[in-house]
Amino acid sequence: MIVHLSVLQVIIPLMAAPACLLLRKRELVWAFATLATFLTFAVSVLLLSQVMQSGAISYEMGGWEAPWGIEYRIDMLNAPLLVLISGISAIALLAARTSIENEIPENRHSFFYIAWLLCMAGLLGITATGDAFNVFVFLEISSLATYTLIALGKDRRALWASFQYLVAGTIGATFILIGIGLMYVMTGTLNMADLAQRLPEVENTKTVFTAFAFFIVGVCMKLALFPLHLWLPNAYAFAPSIVTTFLAATATKVAVYVMIRFIFDVFGFEFSFTHFPLQEILMTLGIAGIFVASIVAIYQDNLKRMLAYSSVAQIGYLILGISFASQTGIMATLLHMLNHGLMKGALFLSMAAVVYRLGVANLSQMHGIASRMPLTMAAFLIGGLSLIGVPLTVGFISKWYLVSAALENGWWPVAAAILLGSLLSVIYIWRVIEVAYFKSVTESTPDVKEAPFSILIPLWILVLANLYFGIDTSLTVSVTQMAAADLFGGLR
């Protein structure tokens, strides 16, 4: 059993999804899906502890040896991400049953859980696999499930958003496919470790350059790097709130993970940063993303949309961390991936609670809402402080390492830009706080109660995680430090 853990955590949701079809009652489906997700979560926690104790785990699918068969490889880089994905998914599912009551027609609830499980299986698969083509397959599994989930939104614009995302996502995935194909032509292998060994022999060929370029652009599309982010705000704004919670906390992180894996592991640090002006490109786009998206966020009335733009900005930070091309930089990116998952999870879940009661999350209808929904808005406040990067929250930890990485490179202006970005997030978070807390209740404020406990409890679990990992950083910092050291292991 233990030896199969690496594959189990993909298999469980993948098998649970069709099994849901057999269950008739939607409560049963929900219970079953949640159970499966918690099982997956337990598996990924076990995996993480195993990796921390005894190093990377390699699993040969079906007993076929690595270069021929498909290898699953769990190491310090992806193990924490697996925990994040399954953890957020489990917590969000707890709230999902209540949250979708008002947002998705009843007869579609079972499909919702099926698509959710498939999406999660896809994300976990991308993260766990050590095979380049497998990445593509799982990417498409998760993407197709995601398009479905988004299209379930009750606003008809959700359909259009889903279609837009489908087109953009498919083009991105096809680019990735081209990249993988060209890599295969040059090396005759699809296994990542194998690729990493063989690529240096042919690294000066045009084909490899082309492969790299296609692959990176494809991934950037998926992770919504500015200016390829256009699909994201609509998708996040119109998807059912609980879906947004899950996607915002995990999906883009997985794409960033793929990027890191290929830039640093498969193609290798030297290839990526010497043959291409990657550093300049990523830095420019990262900073531009931070500023443009944050400024746009300030002008949004729909809070889900505002947070979506904020996500685009946060992706800018992640990419900036990669562009430092240093161990601290990567560590900062990895930390921020985990931390941002926690904060965006909390923020979007609090919006899910607002939508549950109000039907929409428009700022113009939220005057004095904090007096009606104190616990929900307190959660938003803490999540927002974390997003800004206030000390004692996770956000501070990631900003701290990002700025340290910038200073280490001697890039003082970049460090200043990171802090200015935080200032912009102060503005858009504070707008909400001001309206919710310091405006008095008007007639346009709906007369609502506090959100039900089935949403509040998962919400506060996430909020407390934001605080806990902001104070006791030993786990997250040591894990990401080791992962970054592993990536740079060959260089030192």
């Binding site: 197709l144 279609f163 087109v167 096809t174 496919l177 194909g181 295969y184």
Partner: protein, 117 residues
């Protein structure tokens, strides 16, 4: 001769650009999906032609044959084709729903209706 030697790649590139152009420039959602399919198909052709070796046959052990085509790319692309079909099917399903709720499948009309609402 190099030009002709890379003949298959030229086909791929031309198909890809045609598909991409339709996706971007077409106003009709169905046509967009057609473009997307052409775009994907071009990549399938790239994979398939990559594995072919001149004079090679199918990889079945038979006497007197020593040159085989690489079967792996073909297997891979089978998966990709399945994925492509799933994408198209889902895309069409969404278009059906869009037609139901907007009454049109033209992009500009959809935007116009959203603006009004």
């Amino acid at each position: 001769m190099e030009f002709l030697g890379l003949f298959n790649y030229w086909v791929v590139v031309i198909l890809m650009m045609i598909g991409f152009y339709i996706v971007i420039c077409s106003n009709n959602l169905i046509k967009k999906l057609i473009g997307l399919t052409i775009f994907q198909t071009s990549v399938f052709i790239m994979y398939i032609s990559m594995g072919k070796i001149e004079g090679g046959t199918a990889p079945i052990l038979a006497e007197g044959v020593t040159l085989y085509s690489n079967p792996l790319t073909h297997v891979l692309i089978l998966t990709a084709i399945v994925v492509g079909i799933a994408t198209t099917a889902l895309g069409l399903a969404i278009v059906v729903r869009i037609k139901e709720s907007y009454g049109t499948v033209e992009e500009d009309e959809i935007h116009a209706k959203d603006k009004k609402a």
